[in-house]
């Protein structure tokens, strides 16, 4: 295990945001009080990432951990800004205090603790779940009707992550491996879950995106990152099961009625490829897995934020209802296009390198499964193109009376979300390879 320096406590820096926030009156100063500690924290991480081992922290920190932290932190920042602006929420004042520490500590823990081997890894992932569990229970905005099923899934997933410490015991036999895989697949955004008319609430959508599209890929990556060479023994079985699960997600997206079903399906498909890459036990597969672990949350969050603002504006949540909405606001158009091109694994928007490395890893272990990934890639491209057509065709939904106010309060956060999401989509393809972050050339 790598020795961590005391500077690791810098991950607590974002906690200043909720502490400082109540001290300022509403307005610009309050916003600055929220942003500045987080921005300073992210700047430090970026500097460390750029400087490498001789940087800010005395002990060397894993680059992957830094990158994950930076990625999550930047992505979560817009959510922090948008969540407190929820109009007329009964617990609006409590939200920053609950969500800020939870989200940022999670980001830090995922990045730093999760970068270590063995039990630290499992402990980090378990901590994340516990924090989210706490946030979920405390947050009154989360719809009560759905809380039970979410709690159940989170409990199961949390058990898996905590059980990682016992992984050597679990994985000595084939039934143990299969059990591990079955538990792992529970993390996926439910390719087989029943269609539900989810609550028309942008806050709910954001949390939904966070729980079921953004975090699961990162967690799956963390759970599988220490998979040794040639593990598990029956790769075609376990990798194949992951891919089939991912394909089921795509089929679900094809027959989706609600927007969130599509998001679930696409995230599940991405996770199928990620898991297969990580299970391949090859350096290329794992490097591709890291790419996907970073890219999937970005695309999901970007898409989720756009969709949540659409839900707020137009009170629609079905795919049919969103016809033509992509043409209505210029930043939305750009965000849709970026998220869609990322979903299509096109170069310069983040997908190409991850796709290539992941395929190299999977193909090396099983060309048959590699061909399956290629087929899945094409099918997901087909779906995303179809969704893009739907969003850009038609007259668009009608704006309800009084929604203009909400639009005015939301747009800075949305703009920031588009900006950060786009920045990372570009960064991961163009710049991140320069520092060999995603593994050295074989």
């Amino acid at each position: 295990m790598q020795a961590l320096s005391p500077e690791i406590l810098l991950i607590l820096l974002p906690l200043l945001s909720p502490l400082l926030r109540p001290l300022f009156p509403a307005g610009r100063r309050k916003v600055w009080a929220t942003i500045l500690p987080v921005a300073f924290f992210l700047l430090l991480i970026l500097l460390q990432l750029l400087k490498g081992e001789g940087g800010l922290f005395v002990s060397p920190l894993p680059e992957t951990g830094l990158l994950l932290t930076l990625c999550l932190g930047v992505l979560l920042l817009p959510i922090l800004l948008i969540l407190p602006e929820r109009p007329a929420a009964p617990h609006a004042g409590r939200l920053p205090a609950v969500w800020l520490p939870c989200l940022l500590l999670s980001a830090g823990a995922l990045g730093f603790l999760g970068s270590g081997p063995g039990r630290v890894l499992g402990g980090g992932a378990g901590l994340i779940f516990l924090l989210f569990l706490g946030a979920l229970v405390l947050d009154g905005a989360f719809p009560g009707a759905y809380r039970r099923s979410f709690l159940l899934r989170l409990f199961l997933s949390g058990s898996i992550s905590l059980g990682l410490a016992l992984r050597p015991v679990l994985l000595v036999s084939l039934p143990g491996e299969v059990l591990f895989l079955a538990a792992l697949l529970l993390l996926f955004p439910a390719p087989l879950s029943r269609r539900t008319e989810r609550v028309v609430s942008p806050e709910f959508l954001k949390m939904d995106v966070l729980f079921f599209q953004s975090l699961p890929p990162l967690l799956a990556f963390q759970l599988l990152r220490s998979v040794p060479e040639g593990f598990p023994g029956v790769f075609p079985l376990l990798g194949g099961a992951s891919l089939v699960w991912g394909l089921l997600g795509l089929f679900r997206a094809k027959t989706a009625h609600y927007v969130q079903e599509v998001a679930d399906g696409l995230a599940a498909a991405g996770m199928g490829a990620l898991t297969a890459g990580m299970l391949s036990g090859t350096s290329q597969g794992q490097a591709g897995g890291l790419f996907l672990a970073i890219l999937l949350p970005q695309a999901a969050l970007l898409g989720g934020l756009v969709l949540s603002s659409l839900v707020l504006r137009y009170r629609v949540r079905t795919m049919v209802g969103l016809s033509g909405s992509g043409t209505m606001i210029a930043p939305l158009r750009l965000a849709f296009l970026l998220a869609a091109f990322q979903g299509m694994s096109l170069p310069l928007v983040g997908g190409f390198l991850g796709e290539w490395r992941l395929l190299l890893g999977i193909w090396a272990r099983s060309p048959f499964l590699g061909a399956g990934v290629l087929a899945g890639l094409f099918y997901s491209f087909f779906l995303v193109l179809a969704f893009l057509r739907r969003l850009f065709s038609g007259d668009g939904p009608v704006l309800s009376r009084g929604d203009g106010e909400i639009v005015r309060t939301l747009w800075p956060g949305e703009l920031l979300a588009f900006g950060t999401g786009s920045f990372f989509l570009l960064l991961t393809d163009l710049a991140a390879t320069a520092g060999h972050i995603f593994g050295r050339i074989p």
């Binding site: 290539w356 590699g370 290629l374 491209f381």
Partner: protein, 570 residues
């Protein structure tokens, strides 16, 4: 040889396109004035001029190379990017056609809603194409290959209010992406086998140890790459996207038919060393090209729309180009695609004017005043002289041209196809001249024949010189032709069969066109209508795909969904 100055080839149009895009985004110059569009037209033209200088330098000093500041798995070799003879020629074609198309569009598209965006997209697409043809690594080529598809999609759908254009763009993107998947599969197998994707290195490995990679593996790589080419170059059965692209504005059609569809031919040339080491794949390439050429040309005859006719003509020509590659005549394919690109761009850009004139001029289209028939004084007894003039004379001219150009037909079997093509073409020309009575008079016949001889000799000579220019290494040329060849035991019957077909076709044409008599058997004539309908419906490939594959699959998904989720349906 290192030369960083070559970077300006893709950089100029890229910067021009980005500058125009930003200016339009900030100030919404839109369709206010064509002078803003010059921001993309002028850099593209300058890139063309720079291309001329680079070509000169490449011929004088050899391949120019440039290293990139980063590396990736598969593209860690130092010579990632460079300009050789093939690249230089392709750069000239791309930037030249793009300049002409943009210049034409300055007035043609004036007043369109997204006028400025169109020019910025064309400039960026031009830059992508230049980067594609100057990449020397398969992974880098694939990267630009995908970007080219994306650029084409954005270009075709740039006016999103025009539904047919958007639908055509989506279909094109989808088919291209399907080809990309095969291409990607080919890259994976190549990486597993060669442990490099640098084309020069792969060529070295194959030359030094030809048996290192098994024929099966090599064929898998080549066929996967070829499937990528098939999608881009509209080869059967990936052809159905091409005719629908006629819904896009004429300049986009011109750019696509003159430049983008040639990407398949370019890739086959760039990876010719891989193709040449897999004779089985070469034969598959030939067969696909043959089917495409036959299908495209036949379908063209049944279409009523001018632009659709041109679209299927492109398909036929692409099939012919692929056939040439399958026979080992790679340089002829490049020669062909350049010639085709230039004349097809001209036809497309002129088609708008021609249609416009036809719409406003009541005398157009002109109806032929009299039935085509036998010129006065022409009798059946004169079949022999007609045959001599229209069938044998062209063959003599073409054979003589090959002899003069020192082309050994016995060693370069692939060239024989070119011979047959030249024979049919020249024969058609002489038939037209005969019917125009230019051969009736001795004084008229001599200059026309001389012109014909000069033209054919010039064309074949130029093609041969181009072959030597593009592939100066004689061992490479010999390898290509031997790989594409089938051996004399099979080659001789094929030559005889082709000769019989051409002579038979001439006989049918003679009796039907000149004598007005039908000599084909009744069972063939009775199938004419169904054959016509088959080609009119473009072989129903799209229909079969939609109704036999996609729809049943969708129904199955919905059935599964209903089983799981109840009867609710969106």
């Amino acid at each position: 040889m290192q030369n960083e100055a070559a970077v300006i080839l893709p950089a100029l149009p890229l910067l021009g396109g980005i500058a125009l895009f930003l200016i339009d985004a900030v100030w919404s110059v839109g369709s206010r004035s064509p002078r803003y569009a010059l921001l993309s037209v002028v850099p593209t033209a300058l890139s063309f001029l720079a291309g001329l200088l680079i070509l000169w330098e490449v011929v004088e000093k050899g391949t120019l190379t440039l290293t990139l500041p980063f590396s990736l798995p598969g593209i860690s070799e130092p010579t990632l990017w460079g300009v050789d003879r093939l690249s230089a020629i392709m750069v000239l074609l791309i930037t030249g056609v793009s300049t002409v198309v943009q210049g034409y569009s300055l007035r043609y598209l004036l007043g369109e809603a997204d006028y400025a965006r169109f020019f910025s997209l064309v400039a960026v697409e031009t830059s992508i194409l230049v980067m594609l043809v100057t990449s020397r690594n398969l992974l880098l080529i694939f990267l630009f290959w995908q970007l080219m598809s994306l650029g084409l999609y954005l270009l075709m759908a740039y006016n999103r209010k025009r539904r047919p254009s958007v639908e055509a763009a989506e279909k094109t993107f989808l088919v291209h992406r399907l080809g990309d998947m095969f291409f990607l599969g080919g890259l994976l197998i190549a990486w597993q086998s060669f442990h490099t994707l640098d084309l020069d290195r792969m060529g070295e490995i194959l030359r030094e140890t030809p048996t290192l990679i098994s024929q099966g593996t090599l064929s898998a790589i080549v066929l996967c790459l070829f499937a990528g080419c098939m999608a881009k170059s509209a080869q059967f059965p990936f052809h159905f996207w091409l005719p629908d692209t006629m819904e896009t504005p004429t300049p986009v059609s011109a750019l696509m038919h003159a430049g983008i569809v040639n990407a398949g031919g370019y890739l086959m040339n760039r990876t010719s060393i891989l193709f040449a080491h897999s004779p089985m794949s070469m034969h598959v390439v030939f067969i696909i090209g043959f089917v495409t050429a036959l299908f495209g040309s036949s379908t063209m005859l049944t279409q009523g729309d001018v632009k659709r006719k041109l679209g299927f003509s492109t398909m036929g020509q692409m099939g012919y180009m692929t056939m040439e590659c399958g026979l080992g005549a790679f340089s002829l394919a490049v020669f062909h695609l350049i010639a085709h690109g230039i004349f097809k761009a001209t036809l497309f850009l002129e088609s708008g004017t021609a249609i416009g004139i036809a719409r406003t001029e009541p005398a157009l289209p002109r109806q032929s005043a009299e039935e085509p028939g036998l010129p006065e004084g022409f009798h059946l007894s004169r079949v022999l002289p007609v045959a001599l003039v229209t069938l044998v004379l062209p063959l003599v001219i073409v054979l003589g041209a090959h002899q003069l150009a020192d082309i050994h037909l016995s060693k370069e079997e692939g060239t024989v196809v070119f011979l047959f093509f030249s024979w049919v073409t020249v024969s058609q020309v002489t038939i037209s001249l005969t019917r125009a009575r230019l051969f009736d008079s001795f004084t008229a016949a001599i200059p026309w024949t001389a012109f014909l001889v000069l033209f054919v000799y010039g064309y074949i000579g130029a093609g041969h010189k181009f072959n030597l220019f593009l592939y100066p290494d004689s061992s490479d040329r010999a390898l290509f032709f031997s790989s594409g060849g089938v051996g004399w035991s099979m080659f001789t019957p094929i030559v005889l069969l082709l000769t019989a077909i051409i002579v038979g076709g001439w006989v049918v044409a003679f009796f039907r066109g000149i004598r007005g008599r039908q000599i084909l058997p009744a069972w063939i004539l009775s199938r004419q209508e169904s054959l016509y309908l088959f080609f009119l419906n473009r072989g129903s490939v799209e229909h079969i795909l939609l109704h036999r594959l996609i729809e049943p699959f969708d129904r199955l998904l919905w059935r599964l969904r209903e089983l799981f989720d109840g009867k609710e349906r969106a």
